[in-house]
Symmetry: D2
Subunit: 381 residues, 4 copies
């Protein structure tokens, strides 16, 4: 075996879950290793899935060294330093708590937990244990979002005045789309938790704290087939769509919508942020673009479409020239990079458990405001 | 003089006001006569402006037979059957009431009045007097809006589920944009009255009654120069932006925004209406287009851009082929057509004083909800 | 009758033709009078149509003082100073020549004539007679096109390097779209004459002379029904689509396409002009917009969408604020303004017979290049 | 070591070159292994670069088992079955010929060679040797392009009538952009070879053979700095932009443009293909979208924007839902999949040396047509 010229530290990854997000993580680790200038090497140490045959098959396909049917073994594995959790939402809590107890870094998919109390316990435990944590609000790792943040922070838009945000998809648009665990509140289901939380994360990332909310929660299809094509119906209690008013600590005001039955939209996490000097607009369905307007001479002003390009380091790592375009999976690789930077003490960009708890708190305030039909101050949550 | 072969009735127009909207009316009467197949002829009888020289100059330029400095003379003019009011908002009430008293049809610019009480009195008086009235919510006379209404009524979108609407401009975006009467509540100033009322009119036209609202009203620049470039500052109390949640009687829920300082937008009356079968989207900045999505086969669905064309009668009157495009002034001509049809007893499309009062009522509910920081039921207004 | 305070000269219009373009002219004269600050008044003196009843009916509807069945009478009418010709193409020549002979100004729809020889005779006669002429290439009167020209002339794009232009519609896209006079070469039919000539006019307006062309002319449907739904077929010889390469005298190179069977396009006169410093792009289907790119800092550059607004005088005459949008008919009114300015000796903007002959010459070169399958220098036409 | 449950064959990759395309290949092999359901496993066997330290460093970073400074060693490596060539264009020939001589499959970046004669020799040698070859025209592996091809083949557009294609970028837009090997004809430089060849590949992939061409080749900046910022100038002979007319064997006609100095465009490989029933439009700058128009009822027709989604297998492999978006690097992974399918005898989708030679032949015809200022039939090349 050749001698490694590299003196980089190495982190062993233990990945729990082999569904779509499991594979997305596997791709992201590989791409981060190959394309990003990481201060450490990632080693695909172990993969866990309750179905042991599937675990082993995926481990081989994705390049993991070993597989486990029992996720606790993976957490206990001495060669695993990072536990990546991609299982259904209700399992985040036990797995993350076990990983924290074992002193491992935790990289958990969103939403962090199925209740605010759980989330609170998780962030406290992580803090006490001093482990690095990160939650998969991947959209904010988009270099174009980084650019938006930079513009806002540099005052290019002036004082921020308004936020209009929406995250709509239509995968539950058909009344015959069947029940799934996403339809259970106990699994953090519903459009607000599933989609809206991404938008809340984004709003906080770009504009900071929200102080008060008012909201309206709505279940359009109150029954859905128990299974695809089934005549049996199950009652649905979670929201199909949620609308809210937001008041930010910085004075900005705005609207928030999340829906999983707005026909025509597939990944429409979009927002407009406007200030005293300009406006910027983004839509995740065109993730390599940002539209910016700067107040200027009448008749010579207008929205400008910026295309992602190599002046943004996260883009340059993957594409040599503008217009080539990053894909969804590369946002995950950039998320992995943020995690590794945190682990190596080189800054912190990804949302950790503390921030994920703040996001849950905000979602909880929205739910409460809708329930009680009144404005809720975040300070009261 | 040639003998007229026409047996059409003739209506004499008396127009009050020579500002931008005055001219827009004058153009609209001319274009309606020449291009639209009206059941009556419009005669440009009299033009009134307090500045008599200006009144006469404009009368000649725009083809009116005579001019008056005193608007009451115009209303009393026996040859005037339609009184068109394009003066600042606080004058709508006395002029309209005088016209109603004289038994004339009234065509009044929006907003109808500077208070809900005034509006209420105007609609009651018009009803008692039995005169035809119309208010200048011109955007709904766009044939593409007519098509949207037709699609909704025909159930092409299924049951309506959501409404996201915004009317933003940026003409007050600069903190140095000076005070004007539009900054006075007593003149029905502020972004909600000036712009938002158009969007409320549109929402009601397309989706019907709103049952409850919650809202947030915000003045960003609390002082503005008394005049352009002046060092003297005046306090501003009206809203620069208003955000609201809407609940429609048909069950749809949604968001509402109006702003006159959202940089980059010039006439951004836009909305998305989504139902159980599809979604449609419109933006006044591209008034000849409508985007429609119909739920379909995965991978073969997608938003479709419809271009206005001669299959829509209001368009065909002005342009022989799709893609030629109507302009803003032709929407006013179509508004005039709606008025003439009402006068001739051939249907009623334009919003009358009754409907304009409903719009004011809704705006009032929004203001109250913001003031009292709570949901307001329209039934309580 | 009131005394006119105006000392403006007055021009009597004689309009020949009552089809769509006839009405567009009538609307344009009215709108020009009412909205544009003309150095003269236009009087709607006479309207001619071979069908005398129709002539009279339209004259009344459109506000003309009298009507004629014989167009020669209209030309001979002493109160007519401007003869406007909106008849089928083959009639342009005799009518214009008669008007020139009578010393009248001529405002003729495009294309100027049905042969280059005719066009040549017309421009020579007009020159000898010293009459003002103008041809209806209305799209260049769009204020956004004026802005484009201004940007190019001011060097904002640097040295011009390339032109990509296309004028496509789809009204002949269906193989069952029947024969019409537009399918006859003797009537200046075919996509190149009907649509392409507008694009050639635009290219010349913006970039000046073309020096050489190479081209490909193509008839896709070589037979069409004699009438709608008819089983009888007529042979078609004119082009359904034409593609060409252009070399401009200024060194720019480019492509040209015109088609009347390109599905999806309704009025797609579009072009991109690129220089050593930037690029601009326009599409007539969104006539109030211009996209401009200025070479700038990598990552902060991008195409900017300009919206027509009142900083452009031709726009300000009709709309008080950006985003309101001009329509097709207002471009005709601006064309009328250009004519009146020419008549009053205040500049010359509209293409006259001389320029229209140059456009025909260029179209002829394209046809010849296609026929002979070789490059043709304009100097040889 | 665990026992592999897999019975898949394994192919050893030998990659030559460590520049941007080298890394793109490395990422693509990894992503193809992890995400695509390949009938074989790819093994990253060896990496070659003349700079041995760089070769070893990249080998470790990208996961290759060993490195070589001498590419011939890599070709001779018994464990290498696929030789991937990502070096500058003039090296494609000797490397590919050596790989063919060694009986290895060859995966070569575009353009295939620096002369048509070389390309001809390469395709003949590959044929005689019976080795599998593939050339990196990666854009056609986009699932949306696959969908476009499927639509065309299924007759959804009817008979194809026209093609308008353009590949523009602006990386040489600045006159001060320095000379590089891309400016040398002997290295297959110039906009036509560098960019245009991608568009020719696409045109052939979608519409088949071109029969005749006419063209115009243009060098705008005839001298460029020898190096960035240098005062020394070098003469440039290759094209900055090329425009052409194309006649396809299927009867379609069209235009072609390629430029590397068209400001504002970063990866603007775009085309419109129109037939007797509809039109489709694509722009590589939005690679996850396809616009389609189907002739339909007037007023209810319009271009529809399709978004890539999991109904397309190549997309589903990477993203679970529409709107998530593939990136450039995933197109390369799909290209690798095509190569593996060819190797396993399961169909042939990627362009092989034979097809790449056809593309070179077409580019050569375009160059000749420009040189000789006449139409050139492909049959004469």
């Amino acid at each position: 075996m050749r001698e490694s010229s590299s003196t980089l530290p190495e982190y062993g990854i233990g990945l729990i879950g082999t569904g779509f997000m499991g594979r997305a993580h596997a791709l992201a680790f590989g791409n981060a290793n190959a394309a990003l200038d990481l201060p450490a090497r990632l080693r695909l140490t172990a993969l866990a899935d309750a179905d042991s045959a599937r675990a082993e098959r995926c481990a081989q396909a994705w390049g993991f060294e070993r597989s486990h049917a029992n996720w606790q073994y993976l957490i206990d594995d001495a060669q695993v330093q990072i536990v990546a959790i991609t299982t259904p939402n209700h399992l985040h809590f036990p797995m993350a708590m076990a990983a924290i107890a074992a002193g491992k870094a935790v990289y958990c998919e969103k939403p962090l937990a199925v209740s605010l109390a759980q989330a609170d316990q998780m962030r406290r435990s992580a803090k006490v244990a001093g482990v690095v944590t990160q939650v998969g609000y991947n959209y904010q790792h988009n270099p174009m979002i980084g650019l938006a943040r930079e513009m806002i922070d540099a005052g290019e838009l002036g004082e921020i005045v308004s936020f209009q945000g929406e995250f709509s998809e239509d995968f539950m648009g058909d009344a015959q789309s069947p029940w799934s665990w996403r339809c259970e509140a106990a699994h953090a289901g519903g459009a607000l938790a599933d989609l809206g939380s991404h938008l809340l994360a984004m709003a906080r990332y770009l504009l900071g704290d929200v102080e008060a909310v008012c909201a309206d929660v709505n279940t359009v299809h109150r029954q859905r087939p128990a299974q695809s094509g089934s005549a049996e119906l199950r009652d649905i209690a979670v929201d199909d769509q949620t609308h809210a008013l937001l008041r930010f600590a910085n004075g900005a005001r705005g609207t928030f919508s999340s829906s999983w039955l707005k026909h025509g939209y597939k990944n429409h996490l979009c927002f407009e942020i406007s200030g005293t000097k300009g406006t910027l607009a983004f839509d995740q369905e065109r993730l390599n673009e940002l539209r910016i307007y700067r107040a200027g001479a009448p008749g010579r002003d207008g929205f400008q479409r910026l295309l992602a390009g190599p002046s943004l380091p996260g883009y340059a790592a993957f594409c040599p020239a503008p217009g080539h375009q990053l894909g969804y999976n590369e946002l995950k690789a950039l998320e992995v990079q943020a995690l590794v930077l945190s682990l190596c003490g080189q800054g912190r960009r990804g949302p950790d458990f503390e921030e994920a708890w703040q996001i849950e708190r905000l979602a909880t305030a929205i739910r409460l405001a809708a329930e009680q039909q009144r404005w809720i101050a975040l300070a009261d949550i």
